[in-house]
Symmetry: C2
Subunit: 273 residues, 2 copies
Amino acid sequence: MKTEDLVAQIKRKNSFLCIGLDVDLEKLPKHLLTTEDPIFSFNKAIIDATQHLAVAYKPNTAFYEAYGLKGWQSLDKTIRYLNSQYPEIFTIADAKRGDIGNTSQMYAKAFFEDMGFDSVTVAPYMGKDSVEPFLTFKDKHTILLALTSNEGAFDFQTQKVGEKEVYKKVLEISKKWKNAKNLMYVVGATKAEYLAEIRRIVPESFLLVPGVGAQGGNLQQVCHFGMTNNVGLLINSSRGIIYASNQENFAEAATSEAQKLQSQMQEILKDLK
Amino acid sequence: MKTEDLVAQIKRKNSFLCIGLDVDLEKLPKHLLTTEDPIFSFNKAIIDATQHLAVAYKPNTAFYEAYGLKGWQSLDKTIRYLNSQYPEIFTIADAKRGDIGNTSQMYAKAFFEDMGFDSVTVAPYMGKDSVEPFLTFKDKHTILLALTSNEGAFDFQTQKVGEKEVYKKVLEISKKWKNAKNLMYVVGATKAEYLAEIRRIVPESFLLVPGVGAQGGNLQQVCHFGMTNNVGLLINSSRGIIYASNQENFAEAATSEAQKLQSQMQEILKDLK
């Protein structure tokens, strides 16, 4: 998907909400467990109930891998359902991959070509030749971890290399890579105060912002420091929406939680116009 | 597997060779392509032909993911074959995972419990709470990326944070994490000259060393700087062994290449005794 199509969708829906499909069998409504593929049944219901309020879906691959082959089957069905039923939706494989060149090439093929995701999250630790193979795919996006939402972000990411923190080096150096226009970045909502400085380095890039909701990040603050003229933000919420209820009404409960975030986003977007 | 059992196996076989099972359908001998599961057929033949010369096998998960569900099936069959036929072999899921705590927990379960690997490679970028979930599993090992064998290692890993490079910070900080005794580290053979300093920080830890062979690393140099009283090294070779021939004699060719490395290792181990 081209970035302008993502922006157009955001403006049409008055939403820059991304919903994280981090599906845990132990948290699913009990009545789904007897269906043939409980994870896909759940995802399908959540997607159908929220697709008018969200612009992106982000399955975290760990939750699928944890169920082995069956889990991969559910992920495969989920991405195919999204691509066939809601082709305007932006899809993110939250896989946090990254390896030496020929291996990253294999990952890129798997997520972009075989599964048909629009984007994949990638870890920067192994540097340029571990990321560039992802960047060669036209109209596909590589979402590089910059500053993550967890406590461990302070172990290495915020350590200073000379004058600058590691995560700023990641932003600066990656900007010079081949096809860097296909880069987006992960910046945790729990670190909203860092966004002003991040915007000085990457004024236009889309940022994928996890950590609003369950992890404690604040939507208004993130938008205040991080929003661009083209919005430039995808705010992810997972548990707060998909596990709003574990009863038969789980899909309606998800609609209602997504609606709350979308309404706040609509207000924020009014000020942008 | 306990570390002492790995060391005992090394001493019994006079080998610290790890064979990377990075299987690419385009490089397989043509006669295997008509079998029901060419990747598993290939792996099984390679394992049977080299298991007396190697102490560890390391499938890189990217190569399996690239083939979707079928690929995961082949990986699953490969690890089950290794665990049932050669239980003394140390197995490494080269997955380079790492995510926020509850997600890393899912990955750890998938690789350690469901698939039964002895170890998994993990990226350090997200810090302590992204790695500690892996460390809680008894007799399982977490192999943290420190200094990788690729060119991109110089982008961030060797940048200086204060007096010390990022990769040294990774070694120092990770040593203090809970259950750090379950840590091993990836150090590329292409950077053998760094090993002396690395040994000052982690004098005893096992190091997984890729990059000997196709990538140009030198075995003698790596051992000179990196070996401990307990050997402390697993030297990985992938393409040099598994693709030694793409003809019907591929397994014999793999034996012969593995034998060359094992003989060199035997010589080196003599000096250790």
